[in-house]
Symmetry: C2
Subunit: 350 residues, 2 copies
């Protein structure tokens, strides 16, 4: 998968086969096709930044879910920042930057109503895929609308150095909470406490995570922002306070699972815990549930960024041909910050 | 445990030992003590109706929970309708009817601020333990505040002939929902459809519950009011719609469990379901979470009762000496309607 861009053809990464367990290079295929031509009302887009996100693992499977799976031999889906290369629609000019769900490819055709034009004052366009995009909205709405944090409460955030978790914890700090992160390496933990300002951060690869977490949460846990599942949730469960809230936006530790873990069956234990502690656990899919509140989020987050109250880190991979490897690493926590692939140059000059 | 009331002594049923699994007669002990004397600011209460409710099973165990367990050799706790026999407080007169948490005994002392005086127009005082009391408030708030039913949605209610379930389904019907009950006998199911007006009712002892439930819920399930757990929840899970709500007020099928069921461990499966279907599952303890909204509930329910829109059934057991047997039967579904023990006569004439 080393085909280099020649700008005469359209490279596409397709789903070659469905993964069983963790995705492997065989599941992806790089192919070249002709650059498509826009019809009336359409534009031709060139991908600049492609967002890689854990939800894409779900779309590679054909298990019943909230969204249609990617079909075999179809282009992998994904959101991207693109530049308009040709326009057959009056609202878009060549050179405009837009966000669109064009997927893992160099070029794509899109209808004008599928595009979100980026504001010209956005100095770092890739932020539209992260802190000012889907991960940011996820953090903001999951924490504030479902979590309802109050000053002095304890908030625990898994995947704390990642795109969503890093924002959840910083927003919780802005609301006066005691914030404990959980991340996958000592280096990430240092970043979470020193650069992001969390009160503490624990390495989930340590053997005594449960004890460390109990020490860092002497008053229990009021909000657990869940995007990981598995052993981290096991450590969180006994510490959840009465009336705790568990916004649930991902379970990355489970995405590659091929079968259920062995017993005992703790389903009834979880329900019993929710009952006796009056806990709310709520899954959400951010654009379906909160898309209508994007502007509210965008204004708040832009202000925090401008004031230097939010720190945001990207893990930028160069070249579409590295997307599959980067995505496989995302599922095992190899990225450090929001994973973005730079597919094409930002400026028009070649 | 056949000691009869002589009105010279106070009979008390105490917790003799903690049950392992289902409670047995050995766990209870009937004893006689002197009738206590009220101090200044207190009243002497005589129990008329004692409420028996599933939550009491939890208080018999010393597992960590939202409330302190009953201590060994202490009187079993419980809400009751009582008559004031002596009053040393200006707000209460001999003969007043009150609700108080006096427990399983003939007489008790209470402070004035622990009493809720019943309105004189309440023609059936025992209703204060059911349709107009804790079970009614549980049904009303769980369904309306957590469940947020909309006309045309499908609501499934377990323990549909019981104190809470019967009200949940009828309130859901008043909100235009398609309501399917689940109960433990053909006789109960007939009552649920014919007298309570549910659209359908299934017997959870039938072997093909899951298939029958799917047939009765052709559009899936939008609200599942959970007070049972176990096999009923297993049948409900695959039918839950996107954005479904699961108010969780009890898990009676689990209360006597001594260990977790064997595997596989479906905890992650449940969380995955909540995630991809954006489901809210929320436990609640009604007086802690909704006590401040009792008046709103009481007005609405009193109006429905007066208009004949709510049907309510009691299962009245005669005599405190039968309380333990009645309670053990409650946990296996032997009662039919709200279980109440008539401990003393309603009228003052002896």
């Amino acid at each position: 998968m080393t085909l280099k861009q020649n700008w005469q053809q359209n490279r596409q990464i397709t789903l070659a086969s469905r993964p069983v367990g963790a995705p492997t290079p065989d599941n992806f295929k790089l192919r070249e096709t002709a650059i498509p031509k826009p019809a009336q009302g359409q534009v031709l887009l060139r991908t600049i930044y492609l967002s890689l996100d854990p939800y894409m693992r779900g779309r590679m499977s054909d298990a019943k879910s909230y969204a249609e799976p990617v079909a075999i031999n179809e282009v992998m889906i994904g959101g991207a920042v693109c530049r308009v290369e040709q326009s057959h629609h009056e609202n878009f000019q060549v050179g405009d930057l837009v966000v669109a769900y064009t997927g893992w490819q160099d070029y794509a055709i899109a209808n004008a109503d599928e595009l979100l034009k980026l504001p010209e004052q956005l100095t770092t366009p890739s932020y539209a895929l992260g802190v000012l995009g889907m991960p940011g909205l996820t953090a903001y709405m999951g924490l504030l609308d479902i979590g309802q944090p109050k000053a002095g409460e304890t908030v625990v955030v898994a995947a704390a150095s990642g795109a969503v978790g890093s924002l959840v914890g910083q927003i919780a700090k802005l609301h006066g909470c005691h914030v404990v992160g959980i991340a996958g390496s000592a280096e990430k933990c240092h970043y979470v406490t020193d650069s992001l300002g969390f009160d503490a951060c624990l390495n989930h690869r340590d053997s005594n995570l449960a004890e460390q977490l109990a020490q860092q949460c002497p008053n229990g846990i009021d909000i657990y922002f869940e995007n990981v599942g598995g052993a981290v949730f096991d450590a969180v469960m006994p510490l959840l306070n009465a009336s705790a809230r568990v916004p649930l936006c991902g379970l990355i530790s489970q995405y590659n699972a091929t079968e259920l873990p062995s017993g005992p069956d703790r389903l009834s234990q979880l329900m019993g815990l929710l009952l006796v502690k009056r806990i709310k656990m709520q899954g959400f899919i951010v654009f379906d549930d909160y898309g209508h509140r994007y502007n509210e989020f965008s204004q708040a987050m832009s202000k925090w960024l401008a004031e230097g109250k939010i720190t945001y880190r990207e893990d930028m991979v160069q070249g579409l041909e590295h997307a599959a490897n980067a995505f496989m690493g995302l599922l095992t926590g190899e990225n450090f910050g929001k994973l973005v692939v730079q597919v094409g140059p930002l400026t028009l000059a070649k």
